[in-house]
């Protein structure tokens, strides 16, 4: 319509608008019926409890409707309206419900549903009725011709005598079609604006999105830095120390045959022992920064490695494929943190690490048979883990009743 009202009339747009309103009228009355039934029955049955479920359903009914409406809007609006909701990969129906009920966009969508049921639906119905009458009037000569010799009365009491006289009706019908086209376009425009306002993301949602992205960048940068430090240590200090102990080893061999140098040989041997200790410490440090076996062999192998070194017997049952690097690293450090905590505080005699993939969600659990009573808020390590997990949209669940057992569960969505 912005390109000129007359070109609008001869384009596809009136047809698209009519289609939009026709489907909107049907949908509007359907929504009205569903909302009326859900709220009515919900209020009546509220005392039985089941009514509360119905009312909750009514409250979130705007969510699927919003999704449908955003698609239907493409009939009359070339620019798509993005969905305002956060993504919940792999969450169960209960956590979906909890999140959605807390989101403002859910309530805006409910408002839109009410508007559709009470205003846009009936208005669309009006446009449809006008269109239908106009079509019938437009076709007056044909109708007159078709049903003759019966009489047709356009105005009560005055019969139309023949098809030619029906041309007056055609003129009125044509006028009605033009009016129906413009009315449909105006109404569509109002509905597009309302939908953009109620069904699209608000600025505040956008800010959250941007914030999450910047946190992802931060974690990526942090991970890259860990890798750099690990590489520097590996290529620098570690190699230097190996070379040093090699030189000392050679010196020791040369001195061994010389009786006069027995004291020097002993000193060199001591130096070599010290170099070996430094190497060992450095190796443990490097492993703590980023274990190479995690990069090369993945989560299962690297956790098995940690389990071998753990002071308490650890059973590892990880049946997971290779996963995206940030997921593997976060899961790995979660397990090592859990194992460290259990060794330090729990007094456990056995620890079990299990991990499975379930519908794109990695679930890893570390359970010990210790005395429990762990306080998740006390450990800085756990808080840090929870932050890392939050960035990947995962979560950390710690269950540690006094008397045990302690279970630390990590859930990370892997579908991206």
């Amino acid at each position: 319509m912005r390109n000129g009202p007359r070109r609008f009339l001869f384009s596809w747009w009136p047809w698209r608008c009519w289609g939009y309103h026709l489907s909107g009228a049907v949908l509007g009355y359907a929504v009205l019926a569903v909302l009326a039934v859900l709220t009515g029955a919900g209020v009546l049955l509220a005392l039985l409890g089941i009514g509360l479920v119905l009312l909750t359903l009514a409250a979130v009914s705007g969510v699927p409707l919003g999704a449908l409406e955003r698609r239907r809007l493409r009939l009359v609006e070339p620019v798509p309206v993005p969905a305002p909701h956060g993504i919940l990969a792999g969450a169960g129906p209960l956590s979906w419900l909890r999140t959605r009920l807390r989101e403002r966009s859910t309530w805006r969508e409910l408002g839109y549903a009410l508007l559709l049921a009470l205003a846009f639906g009936p208005a669309g119905f009006g446009v449809t009725v006008l269109l239908a009458f106009s079509c019938i009037l437009f076709a007056t000569p044909v109708i007159v011709w078709a049903i003759a010799p019966d009489t047709v009365m356009l105005i009560p009491g005055r019969a139309v005598s023949g098809p030619l006289e029906g041309l007056g009706g055609t003129a009125v019908g044509l006028l009605g079609l033009v009016v129906a086209a413009y009315a449909a376009a105006l109404l569509a425009r109002a509905q597009v604006r309302t939908a953009r306002l109620l069904l699209g993301p608000r600025e505040e949602d956008g800010r959250v999105l941007e914030l999450t992205r910047s946190r992802v960048r931060l974690v990526d940068a942090f991970e890259a830095e860990r890798r750099r430090i690990e590489r520097d240590l590996h290529d620098g200090a570690q190699q230097q120390l190996v070379a040093l102990s090699m030189t000392l080893g050679l010196a020791e061999r040369e001195l061994r045959g010389v009786p006069a140098a027995a004291g020097a040989a002993e000193l060199v041997a001591r130096g070599r022992g010290e170099a070996r200790q430094a190497l060992e410490q450095l190796r443990n440090l490097v492993r703590g920064i980023h274990p190479q076996v995690l990069t090369d062999h993945g989560l299962a192998a690297s956790v098995a490695e940690v389990a071998l070194r753990h002071p308490v017997p650890v059973t590892v049952d990880l049946d997971v494929p290779r996963l995206p690097e940030p997921v593997e690293a976060t899961a790995y450090f979660s397990v090592t943190e859990a194992l460290a905590n259990s060794a330090k505080h729990s007094g456990a005699s056995r620890v079990e690490v299990t991990g499975r993939m379930a519908k794109g969600l990695l679930v890893v659990a570390v359970t010990d048979d210790g005395r429990g009573g762990a306080d998740p808020s006390a450990g800085a390590g756990l808080a840090g883990l929870a932050d890392r997990l939050a960035v990947l949209r995962g979560r950390l669940v710690v269950s540690s009743p006094v008397g045990g057992p302690t279970e630390l569960r990590v859930e990370v969505p892997c579908s991206g």
Partner: protein
């Protein structure tokens, strides 16, 4: 005297290793810095033994180890000694899983400082024996195995016996440490080898047991 090909990306270590080997009377016929050059060098000259680092260019992951496996798959009799910065048993498992372990070695880099031990390992590998770093052995046998590994078939007592044997104690010393008779140790050992499907007459027992463990490990 052994004719060796050396693959190590750190120039410092490459020079150091070459010096150790040369001073000990061996001949380094090629010293290269990456896996591709290693393959070329081996194709050009048939060495008595290949010594390679695990982590090498271009990706600095397990290129050296994979090159070693590739060389072994084309020539199963080529002795290869892998030097590693990592105790990680996953790398040892990767090396020893599948194919014969004869003439294969996995040694920690630190071990190079113990020149005699290193040279001894090198000669044993060149002679077709299997060498696994004592530190890897210690880590593997110090803990009870997880359920899906062959060692799970052993009783706790048998595992104790095996761990002590792996540390290099003879039957008499094992018996003394566990306060049992030597005859009991012999009985346990027989049972261990049977359960692990190992031939007790062949090779170094502790290496065989560790191999059984590694082959049951996920790689």
């Amino acid at each position: 005297m052994l004719r060796l090909i050396l693959a190590e990306d750190s120039v410092l270590l490459r020079a150091g290793l070459a010096e150790v080997l040369t001073r000990s009377g061996h001949r380094v016929i090629a010293a290269v810095g990456d896996a591709a050059a290693l393959r070329e060098a081996v194709a050009a000259e048939r060495p008595d033994v290949v010594v390679t680092d695990v982590r090498m260019p271009p990706d600095f992951r397990d290129e050296g180890l994979r090159a070693a496996l590739e060389l072994r798959s084309t020539d199963a009799s080529l002795p290869v000694l892998v030097l590693s910065q990592y105790v990680a048993t996953a790398y040892a498992a990767q090396l020893f899983t599948g194919g014969s372990a004869a003439g294969l070695g996995y040694l920690l880099k630190d071990r190079v400082g113990e020149v005699d031990e290193f040279l001894d390992a090198l000669e044993r590998v060149a002679g077709g024996q299997t060498v696994i770093d004592p530190e890897v052995v210690r880590v593997l046998l110090s803990h009870g195995p997880t359920a899906d590994r062959p060692l799970a078939r052993l009783t706790p007592r048998e595992r104790e016996v095996l761990a002590l044997m792996a540390e290099g104690f003879n039957n008499q010393a094992v018996a003394a440490r566990l306060f049992i008779t030597e005859a009991a140790v012999v009985k346990h050992a027989g049972s261990i080898f049977m359960k692990l499907d190992l031939d007790p007459t062949e090779g170094n027992r502790r290496v065989l047991a560790v191999l059984a463990h590694l082959r049951g490990a996920p790689s």
